[in-house]
Symmetry: C2
Subunit: 183 residues, 2 copies
């Protein structure tokens, strides 16, 4: 426990997530992070190369979590349930979610990131392909936009929901009624 932490990489990722949740990405400090984890200031750099590398790893983890969440919600459940699961993930892992959609903060061509993102996109589009039956090629984009927008607005504080998940359900319901209406 002195020199070899055991699983410092994982610990740093967890600390990063909570630090971002508290103070935002902008105020994330590698040195403060290292101090919080009880290691020297160069330890994070060893594991992640640089700050962008750290955030890249967090984003990749986020994409995997999202893919997992979508897969769990996708078995037999409806389109609404998937949308709600998307929002639920964003609210449960706000730091991951935030970083995932800010490529400027990341090494955007990192192989692991690209792979994880690919998996998440796959898990997303499966549900869309199920529903999209007509000539409406933009329905998938609209669905994604709806849930992504709601999550983003809540996380940014623009919307202060009484009960976020109830509202998410109500919002996502607009998708299904739309799809049903079109079929």
């Amino acid at each position: 426990m002195t020199y070899h932490h055991g699983d410092l990489r994982r610990a740093l990722l967890a600390q990063t997530a909570s630090a971002i949740a508290e103070d935002g990405v902008a105020r994330l400090s590698m040195r403060a992070l290292a101090k919080r984890a009880g290691v020297s200031n160069a330890a994070p750099t060893y594991h992640f190369g640089d700050k962008a590398g750290l955030l890249t790893a967090l984003a990749a983890e986020g994409f995997d979590l999202l893919a997992e969440a979508m897969a769990d919600a996708g078995d037999g459940q409806g389109h609404v349930a998937r949308g709600v699961a998307y929002v639920e993930f964003a609210l449960r892992c706000p730091s991951h979610f935030t970083v995932m959609f800010q490529p400027r903060l990341l090494h955007d061509d990192d192989p692991e990131l690209v792979a994880a993102r690919q998996r998440a996109w796959g898990a997303l589009s499966v549900g869309v392909d199920e529903v999209r039956s007509g000539p409406d090629a933009d329905f998938g984009v609209a669905s994604w936009s709806l849930v992504h927008g709601y999550a983003t607005l809540v996380l940014s504080g623009a919307i202060e929901p009484d009960d976020a998940l109830r509202q998410a359900r109500a919002v996502a319901a607009h998708l299904v009624s739309e799809a049903d209406g079109r079929t």
Copy 2:
């Protein structure tokens, strides 16, 4: 032109917007900004107090521009046109739009910011109140989420649209058809 710039504040805001559009908010440097504007490194601080103050001013400007855009699109036009105008604004002023929804970067209680935001919210909700006729209290949130999400996804690079505005129209159309179906 030597000591008194004339309109340095405005010039700095413009430079900030283009700098963010190029490299992202994270890599925005007050000193580099000052150098680009041809002034000393403390000049921006004089006008805006600190970095958050600079971004606060940019966000406030953004909210005013958004309010203006919504007002222009709102006269007699339909709900779809307003949604498209929202997206169009986001794509036209990506730096403003990005900063507006990251309160962590701002002095969130700044009076001018609060006022400008209030105006923008007002301009937004007017259109919603027109359409919302039934008991669907969440329709406004859904509308906002849809266009905000689409704009965000395009700006983050998650969606690479062939023609963003055409797609925005198609996406926004989901709103109206929904509203019509409910009435």
